[in-house]
Amino acid sequence: MYQLVQFISRQRAFILFAILEVLSLWFFYSFNNYPNAIFFNTTNLYAAKALAASNSIKEYSNLRDVNTELATENSRLNALVSKLQAQQLDKSIVNYKADSAVAARFKFVVAKVQNLTTTQFNNYITIDKGSADGLAPGMGVISSTGVVGKIKSCSEHFSVVISILHSSYSVSAKIKSNSEIGSVKWEGTNPDEVEMTEVSRYKTVKLKDTVVTSDFNYVFPPNITIGYVKKVGVKSDQTFHDIKLQLATNFHTLSYVYVINNKLLNEQKALEEKSGDVKTK
């Protein structure tokens, strides 16, 4: 017993080191996958307030870019409104009328970016709306130009978003011109570029084609822009295209985002689980 005590006191530095090292690694591997680890990330109230203060300086220098983005978005929305009005007049699709609850199932909440990274292997964004504004983990986040990510955890007034620039996050996508379905994922190095996989090489893919979110998507409404085809090649296994996309969202100047609340999500999921044969993604 005495020897044991002596051993511990001689090796106490190493033992302390080992304990703290294991503790950190345990934090790293469990909390990074654990959605509600509020205390240890930037949704922590004090951390978030500190970031908000330092962010307010950066905001001024970005105003010009933000303005341009908002103006472009306005013009795009105007175009869309007029197009929809036109469609409603000729009622082109026979007898199909979306249920009003389904048509209006997406609700948008505007939030301001408090903190974001683009250069790590797993990037996160902190925004200034939380559970008090109806946000919950799993909701999609978009910017005025395209897809941003998905909410990982919420505190009362802040949320952390998994950005699309995250090594384990992929989005179901479709090429707008020919409706080919695939999935989009970040490769881990260039913050302006993502990769699209699972598109058969026997389909034609043109440069500058727009890639949007597909209809098989719980998080995002269909037809939100993800990016534009920048490079097309063939994968080494010869069956799929190797497509590189230019991201539509400019993460370097991202200041305001929209959080998408799909009000019918739970209903849809419950129904699909009950019928059993639809895979939940």
Binding site: L16, F17, L23
Partner: protein
């Protein structure tokens, strides 16, 4: 250690952490070179600091930085490791004539070569652990290596530059 020394050590420790969290966090060159200047909060503690204190402070500063980077545990693991290794590195780097009683751990006192070797060694260990943990994928080994090399140079240069502005 006198009380005045202790207070100035605490201030220096806090200074590097705040510097990291509020200013250097945004500082990235060419997407590859990151600056983790807060390493200096551990590497610049006085020679006579004992291992237990080093490890505890290292863990604490790593964890604080982790909260702001959303990488909980990664910086803490890297900092705990370099805090534990610091005494061994210092004795490895002993100059031929041994350490002088009056020498302090600073650029002026130790000379440029010693200071850069010492800082770069600890920095490269820290960055290697941090980036490898963060990538968690051997497929990304080359980008990790590139990040480690670029960031080590960047961090070391910044720490040395700050030393030039230090009052003795």
């Amino acid at each position: 250690m006198t009380q005045k020394n202790l207070i100035s050590q605490v201030l220096v420790f806090g200074f590097y952490l705040l510097l990291q969290i509020f200013f250097v966090r945004q500082l990235v060159l060419f997407n590859y070179a990151f600056c983790f200047v807060y390493i200096a909060s551990i590497t610049l503690l006085p020679f006579e600091t004992n291992r237990i204190t080093l490890i505890l402070l290292g863990f604490l500063s790593g964890l604080t930085v982790d909260v702001f980077y959303n990488t909980i545990g990664a910086n803490a693991a890297a900092m705990t490791l370099i805090a534990y290794l610091r005494p061994s590195i210092i004795s490895l780097l002993t100059p031929q004539r041994g350490y002088d009683e009056r020498q302090t751990l600073s650029l002026n006192s130790m000379g440029l070569t010693w200071f850069i070797t010492y800082t770069a060694t600890l920095t490269v260990i820290h960055h290697f652990v941090l980036f490898l943990l963060e990538a968690s994928d051997w497929g990304l080994f080359l980008p990790v290596l590139a990040k480690v090399i670029c960031s080590t140079i960047f961090t070391t240069v910044v720490i040395v530059i700050i030393q030039f502005f230090r009052k003795e």
